[in-house]
Amino acid sequence: MEKMPKWADVVLIPVISLLLAALISAIVILLIGESPIEALDLMVEGALGSTNGWGYTLYYATNFLFTGLAVAVAAHAGLFNIGGEGQAMLGGLGLAIVCLYIPFPHWSIALLVAGLGAGLFGAAWAAIPAYLQAKRGSHIVITTIMFNFIAAAVLNYMLVNTLKPKGSMEPATGRFPESAQLPSLHDILAPIGIEFSKSSPANVTLFVGIAACVVVWGLIWHTPLGHEIRALGKSERGAVYAGISPVRTVMITMLISGALCGLMATNNVMGEAERLVLNATEGAGFIGIAVALMGRNHPFGVFLAAILFGFLYQGGAELALWTNIPSELIVVIQALVILFTGALDNMVRMPIEKIFLALRKENA
C-alpha cells in the first residue's frame, strides 16, 4: 500500500520544497535590505508583464527544456548526467560548424540539419562517459564533470585557433549566414495577428522543445526502449533477469540525453546569438538538474519547471537592473531548489507521509 496518494508525491512535495526555497530567498532579500514583496512584484512585471518579458522568459525556458529533459531521461535509467553543460557546449560547436560551412536555401532545412549536427556532437560527448560507465564501471558523475572541463578547453581551442574569423580578437565565430537565422516568435505570431515583441530572443525552437517533451514522454512510457530504461533505473539485477542488456541501455540513454543537451544549441546559438561565443551555455546545463528534480523527471513537469526557471532568470535580470539585488540571487534560489527537492527530499517527505498515515488511521 502506498504511504500517500500520488498527487501528494507529484504536486504537494515539489510545491512545499519550492515554498521553502522561496522563503529562504525572501529572508536573504530582507538581509540585503530590500523588500521581498517589491522584488517579487518587479520579477513578475519584468518577466511576465510584457511580451518582451515573456519573450525572454520563454527563451530561457527553451534552454532549460532541453537540458531538463536530458537530465530526466538519464535519471530514468538511474544515471545522473551532470555533464549537460559540456554536451551543450559541444552541441554548439557542431551546430556552428554546420551553419558556417553549409549553405542552406531555407531556415527550416538549416534548423533540421544544424539540429542534427548539434545533437550528434552532444551525443558524441556523452558517449565516452557512457561507454566508460557501461563497460568499465567508471562513475558517470565524475567522468561527466571532467568532460565539462574538457569541453570548455576544446571549445576555447576551436574558437581561438580555428573558427575565429581572420582579424578578429574576440574568441567567437563570425555571424551565421542569413539563411541559417531562425524566425523569432514575433515573425511567427505576426501573420496570425498577435503582436509580439520584436526585440526578444524567443524563437521557433520553443516549439522544437515542446515537441521534444512529447517525444520523450512517448519514448519513456510507450516504447519497449522506455520500458527497458525504466527497468534498469529501478533495479539493474531485475533488468538483467528480464533479459535487458545494461551496457546497451546505458549507452542509448546517454546518447539520447547528450543529444537533447546538444539540441539546446538550436535555441541559444542559432536562435539567439546567431554565432558561437565562448560562454554560450551560461550554466543552462546545470539548471537542467534543478528543472528535472523539480519536474519529477516527467516531461510535463519539466515543461512547467523550465517555464518557472525561465521566469526566475528573466525576473532576476530585471532585479539586478532596478535594485541592489545582484542576479546571483537566482543561483541561490536554484541551489535551494536542488537542495530541497533533491538532497533534502526526505526532510520534506517524512512529515507529510506521517500526516497522511495519521489521516488514514482516523478514517479507518
Binding site: V28, L31, I32, G33, F80, I82, I128, L132, R136, G137, S138, H139, V141, I142, T143, I145, M146, F147, F149, I150, A152, A153, V154, N156, Y157, V160, N161, F286, I289, L293, N324, I325, P326, E328, L329, I330, V331, V332, I333, Q334, A335, L336, I338, L339, G342, A343, L344, D345, N346, M347, M350
Partner: protein, 335 residues
C-alpha cells in the same frame, strides 16, 4: 630553461598545489567514510570569501581564517544533514552546495562591500605573508642591501637559490598543508578512529554491529572535510591572492577530486597527484604555449590535462581506481 626558471616554476607549483592538497585530503576523509563530496569547490569558495571579508573588515588574518573555516563547516553540516541524517542523494547535495556557495558569496560580497562581488584588496596584515626560514635570502635582505630581491637571488649559488626560492618564503598554510599529509596518514592508518572511519566507508553494518555510531563517525569525517576545505579556501584568498573575487576557486575543487581518484584515496599519493596537477597549473600560468620538439602544445591542453588524466585513470587503463565500497550509499540501520 635555466636552473633558476626551473626553481621558480617549482616554487609556483608549491603554491598552486597547496589548495589542491588541502581540498584533496578533505575529500579523502569524507570519501573514506563513505560520503561522496563533490561540494569541495563550494566549501572552498565560501571559505575564501569569508576569510577575505573578515580579514578585510578586521585587518586580522587569523580571524579571517577562523571565519573561513566556520563558513565551510556550516556547508559541511548541511551536507551531513542531507546525506547522513535524511539519507538524501550525496551527489545532488554536493551540486546544490556548490551553487549555494557560488551565489551566496557574490550576493553577500555585493551587499557588504559594493565592489562588484569582490572584497577590497587585503593589505599586509590581512594576509598570510611568506615566512622566511633561517639563512634564506628574503625581502629583509633585499631591503638591507637596497636592491631588488630577484637580483640577489639571481646572484646566489644554486643551493641557496633552491633554498630561498623553493623551500623558504611560503606562507604558513603551505607548510601546514604539507604537515597534514603525514598527519592524515597517521590518523587514518595508525589510530582507532582512523580504522573505524575507513571501516564505515567499506562496511558500515559491521561498524554498527560493533556498537560504534555510523552517523557519528560520518559526521566527524564530514567535519574534518569542512575544516580542511576551510583552510584551503582561506589560503586561496589570503595567501595565494590578496582578496576574494567571484568564482575564484575556478574548478580547483574538481581538480582536487580528480587528484583524489588519481591517488586512489591514499594520503601520500594525494600529495604526489596534487603536486603533479599543481605543476601543470604552474606551467600553464608561466608559459602560454609549450614547444615540444617542433610541436606546439596549446595552453588549452594544459588546462584540460588534469581532467583527461583522471578520465584515463577512471577508465582503468593505468591500474584500477576502486572507491570505498559503501561510498555514496546512505546507511539504513536494520530494525
Amino acid at each position: 630553461m635555466d636552473f633558476l626558471t626551473l626553481i621558480q616554476v617549482l616554487d609556483s607549483t608549491m603554491r598552486m598545489a597547496t589548495p589542491l592538497l588541502l581540498a584533496c585530503l578533505a575529500g579523502l576523509f569524507s570519501e573514506r567514510a563513505g560520503i561522496f563530496d563533490i561540494g569541495l569547490e563550494g566549501k572552498m569558495l565560501m571559505a575564501a570569501f569569508f576569510s577575505a571579508a573578515v580579514a578585510a573588515a578586521t585587518g586580522n588574518v587569523w580571524l579571517g581564517l577562523l571565519s573561513g573555516v566556520a563558513s565551510s563547516l556550516v556547508l559541511s553540516g548541511l551536507h551531513g544533514l542531507a546525506s547522513i541524517t535524511f539519507r538524501g542523494n550525496q551527489l545532488i547535495s554536493g551540486v546544490a552546495l556548490n551553487f549555494l556557495a557560488s551565489g551566496l558569496t557574490v550576493l553577500i560580497a555585493e551587499s557588504w562591500f559594493r565592489q562588484g562581488g569582490r572584497t577590497p584588496s587585503l593589505l599586509t596584515d590581512g594576509r598570510f605573508n611568506g615566512i622566511e626560514l633561517p639563512f634564506a635570502i628574503g625581502p629583509a635582505d633585499a631591503a638591507a642591501a637596497d636592491r631588488p630581491l630577484n637580483e640577489l637571488i639571481k646572484e646566489a649559488g644554486p643551493i641557496q637559490q633552491l633554498y630561498s626560492e623553493l623551500i623558504s618564503g611560503h606562507s604558513i598554510l603551505v607548510y601546514v598543508a604539507l604537515l597534514f599529509v603525514p598527519l592524515t596518514w597517521w590518523v587514518l592508518f595508525r589510530t582507532r578512529f582512523g580504522l573505524r572511519l575507513r571501516a564505515v566507508g567499506e562496511n558500515p553494518a559491521a561498524v554498527d554491529t560493533a556498537g560504534v555510531s555510523v552517523q557519528g563517525l560520518r559526521f566527524a569525517a564530514v567535519g574534518i572535510c569542512g575544516l580542511l576545505c576551510g583552510i584551503a579556501g582561506a589560503y586561496l584568498a589570503t595567501g595565494l591572492q590578496a582578496g576574494f573575487v567571484r568564482e575564484m576557486t575556478s574548478g580547483r575543487g574538481y581538480i582536487a577530486l580528480a587528484a583524489l581518484i588519481f591517488a586512489k584515496w591514499r594520503p601520500w599519493h594525494a600529495l604526489g597527484a596534487c603536486l603533479l596537477f599543481g605543476l601543470l597549473q604552474a606551467i600553464a600560468l608561466r608559459f602560454q604555449s609549450i614547444q615540444f620538439g617542433g610541436f606546439t602544445i596549446p595552453v588549452q591542453v594544459m588546462d584540460a590535462l588534469p581532467y583527461i588524466l583522471t578520465v584515463v585513470i577512471l577508465a582503468g587503463f593505468v591500474g584500477k581506481a576502486i572507491p570505498p565500497r559503501a561510498g555514496g550509499q546512505p546507511y539504513v540501520k536494520e530494525r
